[in-house]
């Protein structure tokens, strides 16, 4: 893998809010077809780090490279141009709109006259949902009327519909039942095999051990270290998260 150009390189990223260093000189990378877990306590800075990649925050300093080239990402529109898709922990859905409007928000399908084509969009949503979550039936209700799992599938469908090359998943299974969690892990496997790189933010070690190839652990805004998941135990990861201690002999790349 090391001979390949990384899909994403985040180099020396820093951002502070009102004097607090939320992310302090952190570097991580991601290769095509790889899942990198970002671990850490609440407030460790993992979501903040990833929001600089998705364009929600502008970094104070640091460099983002996509396929080896320096990328300028100032807002979510920029990130979308680099085929970066994000599933936010909050899901970022407009509750008053239906599934199709949410899925295509900002990228509506339009008719030849330039009007939004609701019927075409609903038709597309029916197709993708048939694959992703066949139980999904509420196509014309506002998403506020959906269950947690259904809302999650709308957010996931939105991320995978538009040919993502880089996928960011922020706690994708936090609100899900066992059945839907299984659906997410199958989806991650499939996306991996299609060569998509995935950043998986989680505080669940079992999720990370199960789904990820590598894990980067953060504590208090700093990177503790990056390890190959197959070289470490659950306890090693716990030690990194809680004590900020790097396990010996398990140096990542």
């Amino acid at each position: 893998m090391s001979t390949q150009t990384p899909l994403v390189e985040l180099k020396n990223m820093s951002i502070s809010f009102g004097g607090v260093h939320a992310v302090d000189d952190v570097s991580v990378d991601l290769y095509p077809g790889e899942v990198v877990g970002l671990l850490g306590h609440n407030g460790a800075g993992k979501s903040t780090l990833i929001k600089m990649l998705s364009g929600a925050y502008a970094a104070d300093s640091g460099e983002i490279r996509i396929n080896g080239k320096v990328a300028t990402i100032h807002n979510p529109r920029d990130a979308r141009r680099y085929n970066i898709e994000t599933i936010y922990q909050t899901l970022a859905l407009a509750d008053n709109l239906d599934a199709a409007s949410n899925l295509f928000l900002g990228r509506e399908l339009v008719t030849s006259l330039g009007f939004v084509d609701d019927d075409a969009m609903e038709s597309e949503v029916r197709k993708i949902m048939a694959r992703l979550n066949p139980n999904f039936q509420k196509f014309s209700d506002p998403v506020s009327a959906l269950s947690g799992g259904q809302r999650q599938s709308v957010a996931i469908a939105r991320a995978v519909y538009f040919d993502a090359k880089i996928l960011i998943m922020d706690e994708p299974t936090a609100a899900l039942g066992p059945q839907e969690t299984k659906m997410v892990s199958e989806l991650i496997e499939r996306l991996k095999s299609e060569g998509i790189g995935i950043f998986l933010i989680s505080h669940d070690i079992h999720d990370v051990m199960h789904l990820c190839d590598r894990a980067s652990v953060m504590k208090n805004g700093k990177l503790v270290g990056t390890v190959d998941v197959k070289d470490v135990t659950d306890d090693d990861l716990l030690g990194m998260i809680i004590l900020g201690k790097h396990p010996h002999g398990a140096d990542g790349k």
Partner: protein, 424 residues
């Protein structure tokens, strides 16, 4: 739930008419019938309905814009003052400026004045939107400031003098005996509008069917078509039954190119401000349901953060929404000033509250994300019906305010209960 109630609900849901729309139409019908009974049949007359629809136009046009403002979790308190300011400025240029440039009574005066009014509104609105969106001053404060500024600026244009008389062609946009389509044109207009409405219903049905979605039953579609065409043609018929008064007859006959003979009967027809309102309603409905801009307005109101993360520039959106509100205020300024034929410094006073009330009675939620254009128009119609009705019954002005105020609060309470029940 009783079975017959269930059947009724099922009936209306098959028609695609929701309970809220039904409630508003019901309230309007109850008001009209009640006032008609109390006045002994003087309320539901062609003359009164003509005046009612003309009086509604100015507030209703602005209410369609206020829907977008409120849906995006903002408010605009400045529209009444802005209407006065624009009305005064447009009046001043057609009375004091343009006659010196193009000549008194020149045909282009009304066009220049009208375009000026709309542009002036759009620019001022955009400025307010920029302060709200980019400088992040709350809309309540910015437009409260605007409320004072424009009323003051209006005074400043002519040192408080009333500007009159407005250009005769300009005044047609205010309605009145001259400002109508006349009988023949009204019928043609009604037919074209009916055909367009039927065409839209059928086109939507075909589009849905082509994607394999379930469509309404044929009988439901038939009832909708009959309702749409019946409403349009019925209105035209009523307007075409409103006779022109004897005093105005020679003038109107000349304007319409009819020979003035004894026993000649001419009717009003559909008023021009009503045509303007209809046009605005159709365009704004299209914008709200069929354009990206409209979609972003509702998305931003529902979840501003999600909208921003979806790549929507919500700051620029705020500028656009307020600019649109300003342009619509410009249109209303034209209607209001043209109707009076003169502009004094009181023009538009308290209109901001009527406009907000119309939007809110029409189902626009102040918490953002919900509201329809047709709802706001019906809301304006309910407000005006209530006011005109009470005036014709002989209720004192102070009592009218008390009733309107209480109805507003009650209507919003009903809306909250409805939302809680339906979970929307």
């Amino acid at each position: 739930m009783q079975p017959d109630q269930n059947t009724a609900q099922n009936f209306f849901s098959k028609l695609g008419i929701d309970l809220r729309l039904l409630g508003m139409i019901g309230a309007l019908a109850v008001l009209c019938i009640m006032f008609d009974l109390i006045t002994g049949g003087r309320f539901l007359t062609p003359r009164n309905l003509f005046n009612l629809s003309v009086q509604t136009a100015s507030v209703a046009v602005m209410a369609t814009g206020m829907v977008f403002v409120i849906v995006t979790r903002n408010i605009d308190l400045s529209v009444g003052s802005l209407l006065g300011f624009i009305g005064m400025a447009a009046a001043a240029i057609q009375v004091h400026v343009l006659p010196d440039i193009v000549g008194l009574g020149h045909w282009s005066i009304w066009i220049i004045a009208a375009v000026f009014a709309v542009l002036m509104g759009a620019v001022i609105g955009a400025m307010q939107g920029w302060i709200i969106g980019y400088l992040t001053v709350p809309a309540f404060i910015v437009t409260l400031g605007g409320f004072l500024v424009y009323r003051g600026a209006m005074w400043w244009i002519t040192q408080g003098q009333t500007v009159a008389p407005l250009d005769p062609s300009f005044r047609l946009m205010g309605g009145g005996a001259d400002g109508t389509l006349g009988e023949t044109l009204s019928w043609i207009f009604g037919l074209v509008a009916s055909i367009a409405a039927v065409g839209l219903i059928l086109a939507s049905r075909r589009r849905k069917a082509s994607h394999g979605f379930t469509v309404k039953p044929v009988w439901a579609e038939g009832i909708l078509i009959a309702l749409a065409a019946g409403l349009i043609l019925g209105y035209v018929w009523i307007m075409n039954s409103y006779k022109i008064a004897k005093g105005a007859l020679p003038r109107i006959a000349e304007a319409r190119g009819v020979e003035m003979v004894d026993g000649l009967v001419l009717n009003h027809g559909v008023a021009i401000p009503v045509i303007i309102l209809l046009g605005v309603t159709i365009v704004m409905t299209l914008v709200s349901t069929r354009t990206r801009f409209g979609r972003y307005v509702y998305a931003t109101g529902g979840n501003p953060e999600a909208a921003e993360l979806s790549g929507i520039n919500t700051r620029l959106l705020t500028v656009k929404v307020f600019s649109l509100m300003g342009a619509l205020t410009g249109i209303s300024a034209i209607i209001a000033s043209a109707r009076l034929g003169a502009v004094d410094v009181g023009l538009g006073t308290l209109d901001e509250l009527r406009v907000i009330a119309a939007a809110v009675i029409g189902g626009t939620a102040l918490s953002g994300g919900f509201g329809t254009i047709y709802g706001a128009v019906i809301g304006a119609l309910i407000m005006q019906t209530l006011q005109s009705g009470m005036a014709s019954v002989g209720v004192d002005a102070p009592l009218q305010s008390i009733v309107v105020g209480m109805v507003l609060v009650f209507a919003v309470y009903i809306d909250i209960v409805y939302r809680r029940k339906t979970g929307a």
